[in-house]
Amino acid sequence: MNRTLAPFDRRLGQVEAVDAVGAYRRLRCTDPGGPAPRPGQFYMLAMAERWGGGEDERPYLPRAFSYLRWDAGRLEFLLEDVGPGTRRLAEARPGEEIWLLGPLGAGFTAPRDGRAPLLVGGGIGIVPLLPLQSEIPGPALLGFRDAAHATAGALMEDVELCTDDGSAGHHGLVTELLGARLDGHVEIYACGPPAMLEAVRLMTGERGVPAQLALESGMACGFGACFGCVVPTADGYVRVCVDGPVLEAARLEAVPAH
């Protein structure tokens, strides 16, 4: 089962710590009464106080985040500061209250017919691969902008690393590493920027290798209410938040740039 149902209530957690993992920020908070999520699921987060008043009077809506770690009553997230929402979360102080809704969406499923899992992550996209790897062990090919971001790779095991600027690991794109590893016996689990996922979709499509892609999409609600987070598939638009975020590469017609 790749989907744990969320309690039908947003709940207040309490921020316990926010620290740096290379160029990213890691946020730890309590998750009172929250159930155990499945790898690939996500949460909608919003600070209880001062959620707003940032750039352009934002944020207003909660923000979607894959979980990095969960253990009874405690959640960890890894954040990349890209705008007012992630900034507010990255600046959260211990003791501050945070709204949690989740776990949401459908996560990864086990490899089919005895295939070997091969994890492919790009940048902040490594997050859902962390809980996945601890449940379905397998090698991870991780790509980052530079060494500062690549530090986060240390959170995982059995890692082959590369960076765009060559400041750590191989110099190049993670899809190049994938190209070398892609054979008929693996199943791909990928998460990362749209361009990377689109490349993975095309590569695996050509070779007929099954691939599960954890997508991102602009979300307002996270539970299927707004129809805002859709991506195009063979059977029309599907909602990333309820039909995904993990979707079969073969179903997708494209990985939208946003």
């Binding site: 149902l5 969320a6 309690p7 039908f8 209530d9 947003r10 919003a46 707003g52 352009d56 009077e57 934002r58 944020p59 207003y60 809506l61 909660p62 709204w99 809704l101 949401l104 969406g105 999409s217 602009g218 979300m219 307002a220 609600c221 539970f223 299927g224 209410a225 707004c226 129809f227 805002g228 987070c229 859709v230 991506v231 195009p232 029309g236 638009y237 909602r239 309820v242 939208p256 946003h258």
Partner: protein, 295 residues
């Protein structure tokens, strides 16, 4: 706080705004708790059209200052798909069901109304004459004569409550409301979203796949309150007020402005049980007022 909305019995005066809560998807995400603790006193379905619609190309969302712009574009399974697949599930909800329909011609609307109204699961209908995300939406609901003609056409088709949902993108929404009442509408609801737009922060191109979208949320609260007050002053049928409601205080303001029932929309995206919370806060508020009024 039992309330009656033109014949539809409500446990409390807070319902959902069409298209902002998908009960079926909510059950997939939260399970049967949704049925056991349904947040609204009635369920208003997302707009359905005669033919199935894919909706607008993404991106469909933009976060505005204290608000949201959406260009969803009314994706839906179409009349037949809705009646066959959705209605049986929605019939499990513990509250009355209001079905929101939109057509691109009067005859389309007539077909929709006739087919939906005859189903026992349906307590009432809401006519979306105001969706600003699709070409025709604006026209019908912006002009009193158009609206009157539409309501006159469909009124004879059913005895069930007909709620006309007004657009705020009109010179005089109250005139449209009067026309709807004159033509036999049982209630009016407002506001729908306000026409809005945003640009990609980097490319400067329109952000939304459809170019423009509809603004909702706190940003439209004051505008909605003014329109609800104006409409309530000029019609005698009940008014369903909505626009930026986040708290019981916001709901109370709409009731004071003359609304009989309040709908919660975008706030449900932030809190899936916002409807129940708003209803509780409202109850508390009105209780306090009765006390301080020494009643």
């Amino acid at each position: 706080m039992r309330t009656d909305l033109c014949g539809i019995e409500l446990e409390h005066p807070v319902i959902n705004a069409s298209g902002t809560f998908d009960a079926i998807a909510a059950i997939r995400a939260f399970g049967d708790e949704v049925l056991e603790r349904f947040p609204f006193s009635a369920f208003v379905s997302k707009t359905i059209t005669l033919a199935p619609r894919q909706g607008n190309p993404p991106p469909r969302l933009w976060e505005a200052a204290a608000g949201l712009i959406n260009s969803i574009g009314l994706p839906n399974k179409g009349l037949d798909g809705y009646l066959e697949h959705d209605l049986p599930v929605l019939a499990r909800l513990p509250v009355p069901l209001v079905v929101n329909v939109m057509g691109f011609t009067r005859e389309e609307v007539a077909t929709l109304v006739a087919a939906v109204a005859e189903r026992d699961e349906v307590a009432g209908l809401e006519l979306n004459v105001s969706c600003p995300n699709v070409e025709s939406g604006l026209i019908m609901g912006a002009d009193p004569r158009e609206t009157a003609a539409l309501v006159e056409r469909v009124r004879p088709l059913t005895a069930k409550p007909l709620i006309v949902k007004l657009t705020p993108n009109a010179t005089d929404p109250a005139a449209v409301a009067e026309a709807a009442e004159g033509a036999g509408a049982d209630a009016v609801s407002l506001v729908n979203t306000l026409r809005g737009m945003a640009h990609h922060p980097r490319t400067g191109e329109p952000w939304l796949g459809a170019g423009t979208g509809g603004v909702s949320g706190p940003a439209v609260r004051a505008i909605a309150l003014a329109q609800v007050a104006q409409v309530a002053e000029r019609v005698t049928i009940p008014v369903v007020g909505m626009g930026g409601v986040e708290t019981g205080a916001h709901a109370a303001a709409l009731l004071r402005a003359g609304a009989a029932v309040v709908a919660v929309g975008t706030e449900s995206f932030r809190d899936p049980r916002a409807g129940a919370r708003v209803a509780a806060e409202l109850d508390e508020l009105l209780r306090k007022e009765r006390v301080s009024a020494g009643a």
